[in-house]
């Protein structure tokens, strides 16, 4: 349990502990998970802050994300370049927000970004249709998809502009008791 690791400087570890919801042990464990995805790309020494990015294909092949229909959106939202290629910082950030200690508002903010497929800060009907198709593996009929989208917008849209803004989304999340436990990946 001592300070024997040589991957990060003590300052870097302190920064990670203060900026994520992880303890020192968990940060090191996550680093090793990150490295296991591509041992030849990720150096053992992060003290010099190397700029290493793992491509989306490797991230998407992790067992925690492999079967998630939203894995591409998750990687895009948390990655710096917006395309799913993640640095170690992005990786830690992603699992920190998805951990069980992240507060509801933070999770709701990122959940909104994940479901906003075209990145326009609103969840409009086309975003909803894409979400629904991913949720049900395209097995609903067109009619059913349309009806469900209409109902969702009816229920959640408070300012009546035909699409969901972040405030509408957060207002709805406040009334959902299961959100904290479903928007959670244990790693």
């Amino acid at each position: 349990m001592g300070n024997k690791q040589t991957i990060f400087t003590p300052q870097q570890l302190d920064a990670y502990q203060d900026c994520t919801f992880f303890t020192r042990k968990e940060i090191l464990r996550l680093y090793h998970r990150y490295r296991d995805l591509a041992p030849q790309l990720v150096p053992l020494d992060y003290t010099s802050r190397p700029d290493v990015k793992l491509p989306y294909e490797l991230i998407g092949s992790m067992p925690e994300l492999k079967d998630n229909p939203f894995r591409q959106r998750i990687a895009e939202v948390f990655s710096e370049d917006g395309e799913g290629n993640m640095t170690l910082d992005d990786f830690l950030d992603m699992f920190s927000v998805l951990s069980e200690m992240a507060p509801r508002d933070l999770k709701a903010y990122y959940a909104f970004k994940i479901y906003d497929f075209n990145n326009d800060d609103f969840i409009c009907k086309s975003d909803l249709e894409k979400t629904l198709n991913k949720l049900t593996r395209n097995e609903l009929t067109e009619d059913e998809v349309r009806m469900v989208c209409e109902k969702v917008i009816d229920e959640a849209d408070l300012d009546n502009d035909g699409r969901l803004s972040l405030e509408d989304f957060q207002h709805m999340i406040v009334r959902a008791p299961e959100f904290l436990s479903t928007f959670h990946i244990r790693i």
């Binding site: 933070l106 990145n119 408070l158 989304f169 709805m172 008791p177 990946i185 244990r186």
Partner: protein, 719 residues
């Protein structure tokens, strides 16, 4: 760097937001705002606040690290405090981890919730609550009644054991005092097994049942005396109050969630779409199951809407016909339930009157349990068939089925208990055996132990039935469905884990244990073991034999229903307890209360032995001078809390309306800006392409052409 110029596409409505930074940087209105200009005020709050604040910000990590560096340079003086606060935070994190590991079955229940949904998970959470409750109850009873009894049975001779004084005149009642629990010395081995199943024989005169405990008060030396009957009575009373307290606390927690989230009924579709997917699911099979589940749920909900619309469009004649049909079917259901009650009463009386040896005797002893279990299977099944004719919408059908099943189970138990008690106190007028002893001495030499045995048999039989159903019904059903491709069998399909009948089974078992706790002190221990085994068996059958339910049970509102039903069971058990303690004369031949006129009378007698100040204090508390002011004060407190709740409700509604108004204001302002821009646009055209950069207008969600003077992915920020 590139992030600050922003990504994404801006539509017309967002021209107001063009000043805002990119999508990953916090929006001033929404995500927690970080103020670069803030300086630490000093004091120890800051050391903890700033790191916590940083973690909860919605910023990319590399930006947070920069902020952190700036913070570190700013507060070198408070580094000691910062270190201490960080150490404290780490300690809390470790403590939380350790506590989470101690929570019983946490991982199993999480896995169940991920695969089968919140409804099934709530059943297992309820089961875990009952296991913990029963175990704590057992510790309570063991600590105050069982262990002292064991210790005092083996005391050396120099301590004095005095028997409780007789408060009743026992002349002429010698025949009531004979109690012979051990029939013969020579017993065959299989008799031991029968005794284990029915609580007689070697089990009867043991710590298991009431009859073994003595009405002794042990005086070890001058300062310490232990009054076993008083301890027995107070422990059982405290056990009941402890259970009530736990139920109410749990119910309060669950109700708080339900009230805050509006019962979960409103916003069903948006909840399902946005919070329905469990991100923790792994494995292709589980995700496919979940996707099927969500799809089926959405289809069922849409179907329910269609049915509701159709129901509203019925003509008057059809409505009248429907209600007549429903009334008639309800009468049939009531007749079925009353028939079940009569059967139970008859079986109980018959079983109490006839005692035989061997297997036939065992069957006779279990007759009430068998009849109850059979009726609990048959009557709900018939009610389900009838409910299909009634043509309600699915959620009403579920609620009706639940109410009928609750009524059946709890009232059939009440009928059984009433029959037993009327036998004991000879109220059915048939026997005249109650004369000398004021209880039915002919049949029951020690009636409390008999009641304890009945409750023990009910518990055991319920357990055996559950296991038997698992082994004989569910596993074969799965094997048949998997291996046989007959269309009919495939249509019947695998077992579905239905939550309401299972929960009712748990409530019934717990009510039986509560009723029997006074007469069989080890029953909570038996029940703990039983529930632990049932947990593992149900988990196994869930994962091997069941498919996810199609009618998903909404867990938030139903959790309250579970605890409410449990509370009814508690009320039933406590009614029985109070009646037994206060009204019926204890047996003369056995137990800690022989020679008292009722169990309760021990308390007034011990009251006399208390010091005077304690007596005065208790008298004052029991008097009207105290209780009336207390009652008035409680009423005032209740009114205050009710007023507070209504005020909060009103302010929530007010805030919601305000939110809507603000949205409309925003739209209005945006439209005005659009119009202004349209007015300015024809004037700006002759000024050339440079001016177009100030005039970025898009109409839809989708990206339009990007300007050649900028990189393709970026849009503009006005500054």
């Amino acid at each position: 760097m590139c992030y600050f110029e922003g990504q994404g596409y801006y539509s017309t409505e967002q021209s107001l937001r063009l000043r805002r930074l990119s999508s990953r940087v916090p929006n001033q209105n929404a995500a927690p705002h970080f103020d670069w200009g803030s300086s630490p005020e000093g004091g120890k709050d800051d050391g903890e606040e700033e790191p916590r604040n940083l973690r909860e910000l919605a910023m990319p990590l590399y930006m947070k690290k920069k902020v952190w560096q700036v913070q570190q340079m700013r507060i070198p003086v408070a580094s000691g405090r910062v270190r201490r606060s960080r150490a404290l935070r780490l300690f809390y994190a470790e403590a939380r981890n350790a506590l989470a590991m101690v929570t019983l079955w946490r991982r199993a229940i999480h896995k169940i919730g991920g695969h089968f949904g919140g409804g099934v998970q709530s059943y297992f959470v309820f089961l875990r609550f009952l296991v913990v409750l029963n175990f704590l109850s057992f510790l309570l009873i063991a600590g105050f009644v069982l262990i002292p009894s064991i210790v005092f049975h083996s005391l050396p001779f120099n301590t004095s054991i005095s028997h409780m004084p007789n408060t009743t005149n026992i002349t002429g009642l010698e025949q009531c005092m004979v109690y012979d629990p051990n029939p013969g010395a020579l017993t065959v081995f299989y008799i031991y097994f029968l005794d284990l199943l029915s609580g007689t024989g070697f089990m009867e005169y043991s710590y298991m049942f009431y009859g073994y405990y003595n009405n002794t008060m042990v005086v070890v030396d001058e300062s310490f005396s232990y009054n076993i009957p008083l301890a027995y009575l107070l422990t059982v009373s405290f056990y009941f109050l402890f259970c009530l307290f736990c139920i109410i606390v749990r119910m309060g927690g669950v109700a708080r969630v339900a009230v805050a989230t509006g019962g979960g009924a409103a916003g069903g579709y948006s909840m399902m779409v946005f919070t329905g997917w469990d991100y923790g699911l792994q494995g292709g099979c589980a995700t496919r199951l979940k996707q099927n589940n969500i799809r089926y749920q959405l289809q069922v909900d849409l179907e329910e809407e269609r049915l509701k619309l159709k129901a509203r469009s019925l003509t008057l004649l059809q409505t009248v016909g429907l209600y007549t049909l429903r009334g008639f079917l309800n009468l049939i259901v009531i007749a079925l339930i009353l028939g079940a009650f009569t059967a139970i009463a008859a079986a109980t009386t018959f079983s109490q009157k006839n005692q035989r040896d061997g297997i036939v005797g065992l069957l006779l002893e279990y007759l009430p349990s068998i009849v109850i279990t059979v009726s609990n299977f048959v009557v709900p099944f018939l009610c389900d068939l009838i409910a299909q004719l009634e043509n309600h919408n699915p959620s009403t059908t579920i609620i009706l089925a639940l109410l009928r099943a609750v009524f059946l189970r709890l009232v059939s138990l009440a009928v059984l208990l009433y029959t037993l008690w009327s036998n004991i106190t000879c109220e059915n007028g048939m026997d005249t055996g109650c004369e000398p002893c004021s209880y039915n001495y002919q049949q029951y030499q020690c009636w409390e132990t008999r009641i304890g045995q009945e409750m023990y048999k009910l518990t055991l039989f319920d357990f055996l039935t559950t296991i038997a159903v698992l082994i004989l019904l569910e596993f074969p059903r799965r094997m048949v469905v998997d291996n046989c491709s007959n269309k009919l069998i495939q249509w019947v399909g695998r077992q579905e884990f239905l939550v309401p009948p299972n929960v009712l089974g748990l409530v019934y078992a717990q009510t039986v244990v509560w009723t029997g706790a006074l007469f069989c002190p080890l029953l909570p221990l038996v029940n703990t073991i039983k529930f632990v085994i049932i947990f593992y068996c149900k988990k196994i059958t869930l994962f091997h034999n069941c498919r996810p339910a199609v009618k998903v049970f909404r867990s938030t509102s139903s959790n309250i229903v579970f605890f409410l039903v449990l509370l009814f069971g508690w009320i039933l058990a406590s009614t029985v307890l109070i009646y037994s303690m206060a009204e019926i004369h204890p047996s003369y031949g056995c137990g800690p209360f022989r020679f008292s006129s009722s169990m309760w009378s021990t308390i007034p007698e011990s009251f006399q032995n208390l010091p005077h100040t304690a007596q005065d204090f208790l008298t004052y508390i029991g008097s009207q001078a105290f209780s009336i002011p207390l009652f008035i004060f409680s009423c005032v407190l209740l009114c205050y809390v009710a007023a507070l709740a209504s005020v909060y409700g009103k302010s929530v509604a007010l805030l919601k309306a305000q939110l809507k108004l603000e949205g409309r204001d925003k739209q209005f302002l945006v439209k005005q800006i659009e119009e202004l821009q349209k007015k300015l646009k024809p004037k700006q055209d002759p000024m050339g392409p440079m001016a177009l950069s100030h005039d970025h207008v898009q109409a839809t969600c989708d990206p339009q052409d990007s300007y050649s003077s900028s990189p393709p992915l970026h849009s503009y920020a006005l500054d």
